[in-house]
Amino acid sequence: MPHQPARRRAPFTLAGCLTGARLTLPLWPGIVVFGVAYGAAAAGKGMSVAEALATSAIVYAGAAQMVGLELWRETWSLSTLVAVMTVTLFVNARMVLMGATLQPWLVGAPGWRNALGHFVLTDGSWVVAMRYREGGGRDLGVLFGAGVALWPLWLASTWAGCLTGALVSRPRAYGLDLVMPVLFTAMLVPLWRGARAARPWAVAALAALAAQRLLPGYAFIVVGGLAGCAAGALLDDPAPSDPAAHEPIADEPVGRGRRPPAR
C-alpha cells in the first residue's frame, strides 16, 4: 500500500453529506420510477416482498437487478447461481472503473469508512460527486451523502412497486428511462478541456458503439471506458497542468462546487 503523506487527506463533514444528498435530488424521479418498475417486475416474477427488498438493499444496482430478474427462480442450483452472479459481474463491471476514478480522492481516508462508502456507490452518486470534485470540491462527505441518500429511496420505491405494480404506467412516454444517459451527457460538459483532451472520449464512444453491437448486456460501458482510458495513457499530452481535475488547490466551501475559470 503506497503511502503518500504529501497529499493532504480529504475532509469529511456532515455539511458535505447534506450537500451530496441535495445534489442527488434531480435524480429522484428517475430512480423512483426505476425502483417501482423493479418492484413490480420482481413481484411478477414471483419474488416475495422480503426477497425483492433484500435484493434492492444488498445488491443495490438497478440495471443488474433487472437483468438478474430474468434469471430469478424459486429453486436454485450451483449453475443457475453462477449464471446470475456472472451476469451481475458484467453489468456492474463499470463500477470497477468508477471506483478507479475515485481512488486518488480516497487516499488517506479511514478504511472502514471507505468500505462502508463503497457499498452505496451508484452511477448517480458517482457522477454527482465527480462533478463536485471537478469544481474543486474535496469533501468526501458529498460522495458518501449522495450514495446514502439514494439507498432508502431505492428501497421505498422497490417496496411501492411490489405492492402496487407500476405506479407510472408509461415511464417511456415521459423520457424517464433516459434520465441517466441525459444526466451523464450534461455532466460531460464541465469536464470539457478542449478537443485535444477530448480525444480519448471519441475513442471511448467508438469502442462502446462497436461493443454494443458485438457484446451482450452492458459490457459496452466497460469496453468504451477502458478504450478511452488506454487512449488517454497513450496519446501523449504535454503534461497538462490541470489543477481542478487533479489536485484541487482551494478548500472550497461546501457548495455546488462551481468550476474555476477554464484553463
Binding site: M1, P2, P26, M47, E51, I58, V59, A61, A64, G68, T75, W76, S77, T80, T88, L89, N92, M95, V96, L97, G99, A100, T101, L102, Q103, P104, H118, F119, D123, A173, Y174, G175, L178, V182, L183, F184, T185, A186, L188, V189, P190, L191, P200, W201, A204, A205, A208, L209, F220, I221, V223, G224, G225, G228, C229, A230, A231, G232, A233, D242
Partner: protein, 109 residues
C-alpha cells in the same frame, strides 16, 4: 461437492443465499476499482489514463444508450449538452433533455 452445493442452493435458504452472493459480487465491483488503483504506482502515464477515464465512462454510457433510443434519445442528449453549456445548471439541463425525449416520442419519432 457440486451435488452438495446444489442441494444447499435448492433448499429453503436458496433464495437468501442467492441474494447474498449476488450482493457480494455487486460489492466487489464497487470496491474493486479503488482497491486495484491503490496498488498501481501513479506514473504520469497512469495519471493521464485516470484523467481520461471519467469522461470516457460517461461517453461510453450515454452515447450508446442515447443512440439505442433513436432520434428522441439523440435529441435528449444534444439538448442536455447545449443547455448545460449555456447555463451550467444540472437540474435544468436534465429536465430539458428528458423533456426533449418525451416531446420526440409524443411526436411519434
Amino acid at each position: 461437492m457440486t451435488a452438495a452445493l446444489d442441494a444447499l442452493f435448492a433448499g429453503p435458504f436458496g433464495p437468501a443465499l442467492a441474494i447474498l452472493l449476488v450482493g457480494s459480487v455487486s460489492y466487489a465491483c464497487r470496491a474493486g476499482g479503488v482497491v486495484l488503483m491503490a496498488r498501481v504506482r501513479p506514473t504520469p502515464r497512469v495519471e493521464r489514463a485516470l484523467r481520461a477515464l471519467p469522461g470516457s465512462i460517461i461517453v461510453a454510457t450515454a452515447v450508446p444508450s442515447g443512440l439505442a433510443a433513436g432520434a428522441p434519445g439523440l435529441a435528449g442528449l444534444a439538448v442536455a449538452a447545449l443547455v448545460m453549456a449555456a447555463l451550467r445548471v444540472e437540474v435544468v439541463a436534465l429536465a430539458a433533455g428528458v423533456a426533449a425525449v418525451a416531446a420526440g416520442r409524443a411526436l411519434g419519432y
